[in-house]
Amino acid sequence: MLQTAFNGVVTGVIMALPALAVTLLFGVLKFPNFAVGAMMTVAAYLAFGLNAQLGWPLAAATVAAALAMGALCIGIDQLTFKPLRERGAITLMVASLGLGFILENVARFAYGNTARSFAIELARPFRVADVRMNHEQMITIAVSSAAMIAMWVLLTRLPIGRAMRAVADNPSLALVRGIESPRVIRWTWFLAGVLLALGGVLIGMDRALEPPMGSNYLISVFAAAILGGLGSPLGAFVGALVVGVVSELSTLVVAPNYRIGVPLLALAVILVFRPQGLFGQPYIRK
């Protein structure tokens, strides 16, 4: 029980990263980006290339992959989403689905379907109060928590974070308060790219590297972001933990194959009573 809950927490903190990316992108750009799964995959393979093929330490490879993914996301936005910006959320969402297919298959083309893993030393798991933990899980929790705290500081303390929240809150007011939204959009993509890259590497460490590694998490990630309230960074974190723990714990009761269904059920129930999600603001159509 405790072991399962702990595994759920680890899954949760991994999903918190892409869930935060989804929620930031949705807040500023107002469409659900379904390419986040494939973006995680691409970033994970970037880190894999540097780590396993060029022999960089995984930490350095991750940092490089995160920065590269941030830049790549800005580029992708300019090529794919920017020309469609005025066409509405549905068009952008469909574009993101297509983009996801392309990115995932680029990864498949480059590295094939074989599952791979990072070049990291294996270490013996250790036990705390009867719960078995391994080093990767510790690193995962540390990295994800640090990223979350950093994002929280950025969003609440730095001008760029305030500007992102302002654009998410009211785009036209943001313009007349002197905020150049194209710049804010580029920053948002960059940060989302960094978060997705971290998420991708952590998934690769937790499981293995394979082309569908990111899109496997897509439904859970969206469930987490919606559960917390789309647009709410704190909600993304809490939502991811809830989805992670609930889906792991559910395996004690139902067959593991149905694991993904349980948080969706929880999501449906919560949305009946709180349509805006746990921490979301009621959506006001302007």
Binding site: P159, A166, L173, V176, V184
Partner: protein, 252 residues
């Protein structure tokens, strides 16, 4: 008197048709101009076009002789125009203090360095002059702006617009949705802002109250200027309603 704002044969609109069909307005520096007119006459469209949210299709907008047409909305804020929309004029999820900081940071309008918070002044909320004008705001610094009352929210929106030290303040129906007492307070505040040297262009339904503090008045109807007069003359009129509706017989 020199004019701060000069609008000549301005056309603008959404979709196929023009809502503004050739507007000429001039605002003498340091004065208050009120724009009145029936619903759908293009008042708010004019305000949005001046603020840069809507592109001018024809005609020109000049601030102190400088053409503004090609400037984006954020660049117009830098040029000295500050606009307070009618609704949703504060960031509801941000605190009062964050609203004020945002307004002063000009995010990115001047260049990338804005994003790293090079603007040290922004660390404070109101500066001294504005604290005198809005003494009630610092009490609410930590509150989310969405939780303020209607009157407080309007004051915050004013303060945000003024914190950039604009030359011209554009107010779109500042009294909308406020009680008569609050309306009077808002207009009194507008007058005090004007006395600090800020020119004001105000759109109002509350014509009589607004005209009491205004210097001049423009009547808009059907996207055209129907009349243009001094506020005193309009207030002295017996048949203010027909004037308000842009009756041609009252054209001065």
């Amino acid at each position: 008197m020199t004019s701060i704002l000069k609008v000549s044969s301005l056309h603008a609109g959404y979709g196929a048709g023009d809502i503004l069909k050739g507007i000429d307005v001039e605002l003498p520096a340091g004065s208050i101009l009120t724009i009145i007119g029936p619903n759908g006459s293009g008042k708010s469209t004019l305000a949005k076009t001046l603020a840069g949210l809507l592109r001018a299709r024809q005609g020109s907008i000049e601030l102190e002789g400088e053409p503004l047409n090609e400037l984006s909305a954020p660049k117009r804020v830098l040029a000295g125009i500050s606009y307070v929309p009618q609704e949703y004029n504060v960031f509801r999820n941000l605190t009062v203090l964050e609203n004020l900081k945002i307004a002063r940071e000009f995010m990115g309008a001047r260049g990338p360095r804005d994003f790293m918070g090079a603007n040290g002044k922004a660390a404070r909320g109101l500066d001294d002059g504005l604290e005198e004008l809005f003494p009630e705001l610092p009490k609410h610094y930590r509150i989310a702006a969405g939780n303020l009352s209607g009157g407080q929210r309007q004051m915050l929106a004013f303060a945000c617009a003024l914190t950039v030290r604009p030359k011209l303040l554009i107010l779109d129906e500042p009294s909308a949705g406020l009680s008569p007492i609050l309306t009077r307070e808002v207009f009194e505040r507008v007058e005090r802002v004007n006395r600090t040297g800020v020119s004001i262009l105000m759109i109002e339904q509350n014509a009589i109250e607004a005209l009491r503090i205004s210097h001049s008045c423009v009547v808009l109807s059907g996207g055209r200027v129907r009349a243009c007069a001094s506020a005193k003359d309009v207030l002295g009129m017996k048949d203010l309603n027909s004037f308000y509706l842009g009756d041609a017989s009252n054209r001065i």
